[in-house]
Symmetry: C2
Subunit: 407 residues, 2 copies
């Protein structure tokens, strides 16, 4: 992109997190090569025919024809309540017994995280995040002026020993305890790792011992197509320290932009106050009707088939196409896996070549806080968006590109 000089006339009027970001030269690059013919393993997009289009058309007709004057008004009507009931029922099925006052519906999960950040963080406050973690969440936290510290994670999820060591070290140095730990316990973005039950217990104990809150971002938990789920952190929590974030972006569609927060009432009350403006009662009513009409579970089961088939195709292709010494995670759900290529490969450098060969992905180092040199041999591969045939072709292209770089 040709760089024109930015008009800096009003830069002095920006808030300090904005000024600091501009001074740093913006967020870490999220640029990917333009490559129309390349297989996009880049983004966590649902596959196109995953969407329950006909069911959403029918739900829209029903809610607007039955109670359009409420659906389109401030506050919404009966079908907004149906959405609340439906979400609480889904939460109960996961072992979380929340009341209506412990639920706050938002314009998507990222916005929920932003409202949480606004509720708890003053500029300069410390937040612990997984290393690696979802890059866009890092941006949201950074927008609120948070200082971010990464905590190691492996195939069993966030490492509680590393977490404790970080907390201890801060305490010993007289630094304030972080207010929040941001974690993605289920099919983590970017690694696909799921936090084990034992580790969940330790993380909850540490929150109590060191006095911080846990923001558990659960975008993928319902998308398990193999193995057994440990209970969500919120289901194991006696202390009231877990703030749970959900979304229908992966189980219905991203375009309907609806997420929610579940937490104890005194926290939900403030999060709701900090979340500016009303929510989209049109969409919420459509989703309320969609759930009420019984579409959620059958669609979810269809999606589980679709994502399992794709995960299998990707694992099979990785086995056949990646050079010796490569390794990868084998998630039992979600959208992503994390591949680590042999010594000598740099996934950021490899990207333009890979795009020429016919694949794009997100280089691993982009998912780490700061530029600490980790993740340079790794990449996040999304199996959610492409057909099994495309996944095979994409991974083959990655294999060719990596082999060429190793020569």
């Amino acid at each position: 992109m040709a760089e024109q000089a930015r008009d800096e006339r009003f830069d002095h009027l920006f808030a300090s997190p904005v000024r600091e970001r501009l001074e740093r030269g913006g967020y870490a690059s999220s640029a990917t090569p333009a490559a129309d013919d390349a297989v996009p393993l880049t983004y966590g997009f649902p596959y196109p025919d995953s969407f329950p289009t006909a069911e959403l058309v029918a739900a829209t007709e029903t809610v607007l024809e039955e109670e359009g004057a409420d659906v389109l008004q401030y506050g919404g009507g009966e079908y907004v309540e149906r959405l609340h009931d439906g979400l609480l029922a889904r939460e109960r099925a996961r072992g979380i017994d929340a009341t209506r006052d412990e639920l706050f519906v938002t314009n998507g999960a990222t916005y929920a995280l932003d409202a949480i950040a606004s509720t708890f963080l003053d500029p300069g406050d410390e937040v612990l995040v997984e290393s690696p973690t979802f890059v866009w969440s890092l941006s949201v936290l950074d927008n609120r002026g948070a200082e971010l510290t990464g905590v190691d994670l492996d195939e069993a999820g966030l490492d509680p020993d590393a977490l404790e060591a970080t907390l201890d070290a801060r305490e010993a140095a007289g630094e304030p305890t972080p207010k929040l730990l941001y974690t993605i316990p289920e099919f983590q973005n970017p690694t696909g790792a799921t936090l084990t039950r034992e580790r969940r217990e330790r993380v909850l104990e540490l929150a109590d011992e060191y006095d911080f809150l846990i923001v558990a971002d659960d975008a993928y938990g319902e998308l398990r197509f193999g193995g057994e789920s440990p209970p969500p952190l919120a289901a194991m929590d006696d202390s009231g320290r877990v703030i749970r974030v959900g979304t229908v972006s992966k189980t219905i569609a991203p375009g309907v932009r609806t997420g929610w927060v579940v937490a104890d009432e005194p926290l939900i009350e403030q999060i709701g106050t900090m979340a500016a403006g009303g929510t989209n009662t049109f969409t919420q009513s459509v989703l309320g009707r969609y759930i009420d009409a019984g579409h959620y579970q059958p669609t979810l089961e269809r999606l589980l088939d679709g994502y399992e088939k794709r995960r299998d195709a990707m694992l099979d292709a990785l086995e056949r196409h990646l050079p010796p010494g490569a390794s990868w995670t084998e998630p039992e759900g979600g959208f992503f896996l994390w591949v680590t290529l042999p010594e000598g490969v740099d996934t950021e450098e490899l990207l333009p070549r890979a795009a020429e060969e016919g694949v794009t992905y997100l280089p691993g180092q982009r998912f780490f806080v700061g530029d600490d040199g980790r993740g340079t041999r790794s990449a996040r591969l999304s199996f959610s968006h492409c057909t099994p045939e495309e996944l095979e072709a994409g991974v083959a292209a990655l294999g060719r590109a990596a082999a060429a770089q190793l020569e």
Copy 2:
């Protein structure tokens, strides 16, 4: 409402604007008496049969059937672009020549204001607002830790002499210049006042002279059913200091929760970065199709008739039912007028009695920054929501209640 003791265990983890609000005892009361039979002149709700329900059903069918896989995906498709084109065309009709890079579509106008506040305000930064102004905007600015200073306003809108005096006084005291002026230039909420052309010129000059930005919240500008509109501030602005906020909440429906910001690109870029998460491409596509199919203008013309009829009914009732010495604004558009009752009436105290008589409204003092004793004889009356017959009955009840308090 019975007050249970708040669970304060985690209060120390809240951000400072939240802690300060809790220490103050929350926002100024927005409680209104529960009075099921009372005529609600309270809120700025569109009247129920104002909504273009059938057109929205048809638009939803079209967009989901034609391009559901794009509409429901991250980023949206062609119809999101149609919405952008449609909004830019509406802006051009108001004299504002913005490009695609100068437009940012949001989940509603309040959220747009929040994103603007986040982009420019550090906690403690000063913002000038009109006295009186829209209470919920005060909450949004307060959420971001803004210090608010009110500037007088009369029937010709914000008073530039008062604005200059405030700026001068701050300069003389060595206090920093406010970063933002928040104004509602068209059919102001709560007074219905429209800023005159001459005053617009002065406000723009002062922004340049004192180096602040103007946030112009234009929720009602298209709803003019009489008289002539001065050009919007953004159409008169050569300095790039105007950030314009729009919404379809009053011209299509609040439930579709879609607003936008128009400003110069360097500002829009940062506002867009601070606005967390994607937007609702499902709703945006429906609105894109709605506009593309030509429904905007005919619906607007229908609404103008509906609101004019309601304004007329309210003016007529005020003339007949309010006690001598009462006065009110006569707006040529929008949703509200501002009534001032004779000496001896206190609208906050009057409210329970008025509710018993059969009307609710928002007392004037709630629209002023802090509790400065102004607005105690005034009230905002909304003529947007009720039928002409209900408006007549509501104003009659207000007249009876006021007369009784004056006895």
